[in-house]
Symmetry: C2
Subunit: 532 residues, 2 copies
């Protein structure tokens, strides 16, 4: 595949921190910039109190790599910012592209765990630096949203539809667009966002806003002239609705609301759906919906259902379901009416609704899935692990911040049922674990924690995706495939690893040679001195 | 001013919820879409536990209005999504632009409060709907970041510099770009983001990453051939550094780190700055920095300072300051060396640092300012308040969700010192409060809370910014002006309203006629029935 572009036109080489450029200048001056280096992207802790994450953003990273260069405008700007730097540096920088690196990566949508490399960037030192910030930007938010969506997907029943509707509260236009994309990848069924639907072919949907209801003051606003649906006049249709209303004793409902429902039904007879909570859900909204749905049914149209946007969703949905069932003799498909619920839903409220019991078919989740309020940043980091073949370690008093030195490959060992047992990191180039053969898995830091695993299956997780200028086509990308892959991976994971509350940590171990390398470097490092 | 574009190329009419389109179709079918309507944008509660917010996003909204249309691709996509809608509708929709509305708005950077309209969109009903979602998207995130930045600015001492460095953790490329822009507007001095610097002329800055330090294993890596700064050879410079190291008893410092500092200094002698915590801040990083800075000073170069990225920032900064002061006889400008601190800083850690005392000159804030983890969404909403001259109310059992009916203008009443006293909402077209004359300010919901205010100053807050196709040029926009305006507004605000913890609510009152309208409509509304 030749060059392709990232979907976001703002993705470019200049989307970086200035210090990457000043650093590269220092390397270039020192004649060090071409040294072969390996950088790895990983994270230290799963978001949302969980024990897994969903890796995402690869496709945009490939777009970045394919189009990576500094424009003339960038170069002019950088000259201004580093006015003392040599002209030859800028001449060279303006020729830089991403052709000199190889990138290995987890697959888009892979279920991933702390401390394992998700991407490995192999090539000249300076390119590793130049790619750091934009790659982190593209992977961090994508993985955060995909993980959030997968968790929400895991909380609701499997037949329940999830609609993403966070555009108005999202972090800017692209915050919204990325969120729609990665929420779909993580397991949401559709979005309210038209642009996301158009660009990514995600199914779009929605009902109507409260303002549509409150814009009608009464039935006198409806124009009764003209045809409706080629079968009856508009007047006949309104009469039929009002007949149902009288017959069923629903005359106390709000007439402005009823007018709005009639107007919506006349425009969308095949997809009639109503927002029922503007005045009083059970006393006005649902009765008005039923009057209109019955009149539509007499003309042969099946209505879709209603949306609840306030109140006690568990209670209301069950009451509404009973009201629907009471009308199945008049509207045979009433038992199939869908109940969509919204109103600041998040993982915790969804868990609580599942526990209480409800009669909701679809949840519309807005703010929470796009802003990830439970933890609005995915802590992906990108570290130099090897230079000129020399493993690099970053020691820290904080153990979680100590890095595993040297380039590493990751293998996922699984049992007969294809359930992942452990992910194992081995030094790059070391032999892979072999199915049916025992492999010693060590905890990276704790000497006593070791286990022999004889895997039934072994899968290499880092695959080459960018080969010095070319996208490796082994896995042609498709959003639906990535979405299925997330679903599959999520299902494969042992239930106790993926449960929402207090999950069991999944093991990420190191091979014996990696353990030895780490501890040797640790011992060789100068101990931190006690300061009196 | 004629058409201008939003800085984000993704801002367009299709950046909306599908239900806005289906709603407009229903209105169009009902012949209702051209009814004159007023929508207002407001929020219900200040973010971050505060009692004020900073309004932002206007400039992008004007870009949206200037370019508002559905492209041929949008129309084709919408036809697919609503296949039963009439061709005439799509023909009409493809001609729609924003010329039919007037938009009144608060000024970019205005200090604002809950329940007051921040924008008022006046025009045909359908345009109010079509503009809702993109306007909310553009205002919500912008106001959130600007508010967050202003709060952080308010916490640190006035001379302290604030650097935004959240690109790698931001919500996608535009999440980052918008964050850099609005963080600067809210009071940050600079950003690490090159693209934001280039596009918006925000000052950019930074030091260098840990990877630059760990990429050097020792002094032997430095190439000693060639000139340095046209005065001395590179070898002479390194010798001078090593002489200082011996002289000052710093020979136990890490040599790889020292090599990195020397390489950076040789590339950036006029702006030498060092990240000092890779190995041991006080035993290695700062001593190495001093050795290099002294050698640079001998060549006439003043170094800038150091960055701390881990450990106890209060303690370390004070120790580092002492180490700098100890060297003022050798490096006269050492007392001016800057200490930059970073490491997951947020409002709470900054407050704590201020309370403890520290010697830090600049804070680099990343994740927190761009993701606004304290509250990652600004709850701006956009409601229909008037249609065909009829005020619309949205009642709710939840008082905070009840809207104030009818279009409203906002005035800020202030005292002799220009300190804002109260914001007052009056029905659109009603006379403004007059300086020197008593004005009755009522609490919107509580009958007993009334006060007479005789303002010294009266300022109308909603000004026309978009006049049916034209941007009103009364306030030509400039980021620096908006930033100064935030600063000015923040300073004007009474200290107890803006303090970070437990601030006093600022009063937003209604005029007597607005109070009467609200309560009359409340009384006329059907009471909610008790469900047995």
């Amino acid at each position: 595949m030749s060059a392709f572009s990232p979907f976001n036109p703002l993705v470019c080489a200049a989307l970086t921190d200035l210090y990457q450029i000043t650093t590269v200048y220092a390397q270039w001056k020192a004649g060090k910039h071409e040294q072969p280096a390996v950088f790895e992207l990983f994270f230290r802790k799963c978001p949302f109190g969980g024990e897994y994450a969903v890796f995402a953003g690869l496709q945009e990273v490939l777009g970045l790599l394919s189009t990576f260069h500094f424009s003339a405008e960038d170069i002019a700007y950088l000259r201004e910012q580093i006015p003392y730097a040599e002209d030859a540096f800028f001449d060279w920088l303006s020729t830089v592209n991403a052709d000199a690196v190889e990138v290995y990566s987890m697959r888009e949508g892979e279920i991933v765990f702390p401390r394992e490399p998700l991407m490995s960037v192999r090539g000249p030192l300076f390119l590793g630096h130049l790619l750091e910030t934009p790659i982190l930007n593209l992977v961090n938010f994508a993985s955060l949203v995909a993980t959030n969506a997968a968790r929400i997907r895991g909380v609701v029943a499997s037949g329940t539809r999830l609609i993403e509707g966070g555009l108005r509260r999202a972090q800017g236009p692209d915050g919204a667009l990325s969120a729609s994309y990665y929420a779909h990848m993580g397991g949401f069924d559709s979005t309210s966002n038209v642009l996301a639907g158009r660009m990514f072919r995600i199914p779009v949907g929605g009902t109507f806003p409260h303002a549509f209801v409150s814009s009608f003051s009464g039935l006198e606003e409806l124009s009764l002239d003209g045809e409706f649906s080629g079968k009856k006049s508009a007047r006949d249709f309104v009469d039929a609705v009002l007949r149902n209303r009288r017959l069923w004793g629903f005359e106390a409902t709000n007439s402005g609301e009823l007018a709005a429902f009639i107007a919506f039904a006349m425009a969308h007879p095949k997809r009639f759906t109503a927002l029922v909570d503007t005045y009083d859900t059970l006393r006005s909204g649902v009765p008005n919906f039923l009057c209109v749905a019955a009149a539509l049914w007499n003309l042969g149209f099946r209505s879709l259902g209603i949306r609840l946007d306030s109140g006690d969703l568990a209670y209301l949905s069950k009451e509404v379901r009973v009201m629907f069932q009471d009308k199945t003799s008049e509207i045979p498909h009433a038992e199939y009416f869908q109940i969509v619920a919204s109103n600041d839903l998040n993982e915790a409220t969804l868990l609580s609704l599942q526990a209480q019991g409800h009669a909701i078919d679809s949840f519309l989740v807005g703010t929470n899935v796009v802003t990830c309020e439970g933890q609005p940043a995915f802590g992906g980091v990108y570290k130099l692990v090897e230079i000129e073949g020399r493993p690099v370690i970053k020691l820290s008093e904080n153990l979680i911040k100590t890095t595993l030195p040297g380039a590493k490959q990751v293998y996922r060992l699984s049992n007969k049922e294809d359930t992942p047992l452990v992910d194992i990191l081995v030094p790059w180039g070391d032999p892979a674990p072999v199915a049916g053969h025992a492999f010693l898995c060590r905890h990276p830091f704790e000497e006593t924690r070791r286990m022999q695993v004889t895997p039934h299956g072994v899968r290499q997780l880092l695959e080459k995706v960018w080969d010095k200028g070319t996208i490796v086509e082994a896995r042609p990308f498709n959003l639906a495939d990535a979405r299925n892959f997330v679903k599959f991976g999520h299902t494969q994971l042992r239930e106790d690893h993926r449960r929402p509350l207090n999950p069991t940590p999944y093991k990420v171990s190191v091979s014996a040679p990696l353990y030895d390398r780490l501890h040797k470097m640790w011992q060789e490092a100068k101990p931190i001195e006690m300061i009196e």
